[in-house]
Subunit: 374 residues, 2 copies
Amino acid sequence: MLDVFVAGAGMTRIGRRPEPLPVLMAEAAHAALRAAGRELPDAIVVATMNPEEFLGDGNFASHVASHMGFADIPALRIETATSSGAAAFYTGFAQVAAGLHSTVLVVGGEKMTHLATPRVSELIGRSLDPYERAYGATMPALAGLVTRALIAHHGTTLREIAQVAVKNHANAVANPYAHFRTPVTLEQVLESRMVADPLRLLHCCPISDGAAAIVLSSARTPVRVAGVGQGTDTLAVRHRRDITSFTATQTAARAAFAMAGFGPERVEVAELHDAFAPFELVALEDIGLVPAGKAGRATLDGETARDGRLPVNPSGGLKARGHPLAATGIAQIVECTWQLMGCAEASQVPARVALTHSIGGLATNNWVTILTAV
Amino acid sequence: MLDVFVAGAGMTRIGRRPEPLPVLMAEAAHAALRAAGRELPDAIVVATMNPEEFLGDGNFASHVASHMGFADIPALRIETATSSGAAAFYTGFAQVAAGLHSTVLVVGGEKMTHLATPRVSELIGRSLDPYERAYGATMPALAGLVTRALIAHHGTTLREIAQVAVKNHANAVANPYAHFRTPVTLEQVLESRMVADPLRLLHCCPISDGAAAIVLSSARTPVRVAGVGQGTDTLAVRHRRDITSFTATQTAARAAFAMAGFGPERVEVAELHDAFAPFELVALEDIGLVPAGKAGRATLDGETARDGRLPVNPSGGLKARGHPLAATGIAQIVECTWQLMGCAEASQVPARVALTHSIGGLATNNWVTILTAV
């Protein structure tokens, strides 16, 4: 297997964007190519979760490649629900690692803010088990269930959960790409409108538009892809033994660390999937970044703050940078690339090993990716 | 790059199937695993074109893996419109070639017959350029345009085009997996109902349900994947210089032959994308299996019949075996695997080198795959 490096990274500002999705994806892709010093990639891997229903357009790999002026460059599309970006990164990694292509552009994006929120919720809900959906399950409803279980079985407190949102909003203030650049207080989080008891509005990521891109290369650069791991679980949440941890994250982390040849103790910065604030706490423990049962306390104590022992979501995370679905897994890797290259500007933290974590569906298809400064 | 072999192949009967798609995909997958002598793959690559709109379900890789009892096996989904199956095969190939997994299950399927034909046509039309769609373009309409150009610029005759359908229907009579096992005459084709002038009903593939699966392995088997090539083109048909040949097929064939280390003269059996009968003639020349301008004559002369010099679509092709979209690219490889292993039963032809060709959209994302008997 050939070594694989990140040659360039780029993304759009995340938020309500009036531009069509192919325009956003082209903006991110050309930024990543410019950063890589390349005019053309050898191949393109495209991530979008559901352009057919969000936009009414299919064949999206060809659609985007054509729009970017790359109609003659091989392109294909990857989808694993909300982790599609991370899955596309893995697929590009495999193409370079196999020697099939030496420079692969991975670009992901989503556009949803033109739709009414209930429609977006319905479409995202397609990633859940059909029988559970038939009983009214939505993504926030199931996340609320997970949160109730965390509180009941592990003593996680509402303050600990709210602090994740406070920290990530605070981080996003410095990030020019973030959807929300406004700080929030613990009180504001705890008093915001109820969404799915006990989850409130400020525990939940926004509906965002945006795109992100990475150029992967077999030629040595300052950032190496040290490990990529995937983990999966039953589509049906009721078929799981436990909902206070995610098997798919644990499996993905084990696989990624096995490929990297080291463990979580070496990770110095992480971008974790905090679509709902309590998920950051679950991920911290599932990946082994914090001992079991300690994630809430560590968060309240500032260990995961930007100036803490292990900065988590210095970008603001899904919560405040925003969550344009298939862009997210790639945006996390863009952020970590910038961190390792020392060009994260006001978000910069000192780090030579970075980890990203992306959740597909209700933790049915998760990914952990590890980057190291060469 | 590691060598990659086909360890097992399986498919469902194609046609109107009452079963849910995950059931069809499990049937094909378990048949392929049984043929490979494996209980479990290391990873799964899933192909479906648009399960969100055909079925109302998303996150389909996790959905299918869970249904098959493989919830803990890494799965992801690939989509390149109507060539999604071939793209998934390539993605599985890359995973094995890179050494990321040693046994990968590639499974593709589609279910559409429960929807009204105009709705299916609308959903398949999502793969076309939005501006051309806005002027009323549908897939059959553009195929009709291509056919008119073939007749006008290359002197292709209606009899030559109709003979493709006659041959493929004749082949499907022997295929227990085929959607249509009834022969048709030249007269029947030429007098069938007009669909998109000059294309008539019997020039067009049916709307089919079905699934197909391949197990890829790094361990040596009797069938080696000798070459895989992708070719792409502009989404908009109006942006192309010529519509009587498909650049995407030419590029894919060049790439596949380059990987294989030999040319089209060694191919002894082929499964080509004849969603519309004239497309088989275009593919024969684009791939170099027949000299330019000779495909129609060769077909009328029986060169591509099952007992001819180069049997083409011995399965019956998309025209008569059927075209369950994302299953098709894999079903073609299943057929060729069976041919090379000598277990194609009544469809058997003598061959040690086989080629498959799949078209995505209106030839925006095409694939050529070459298999050899070891």
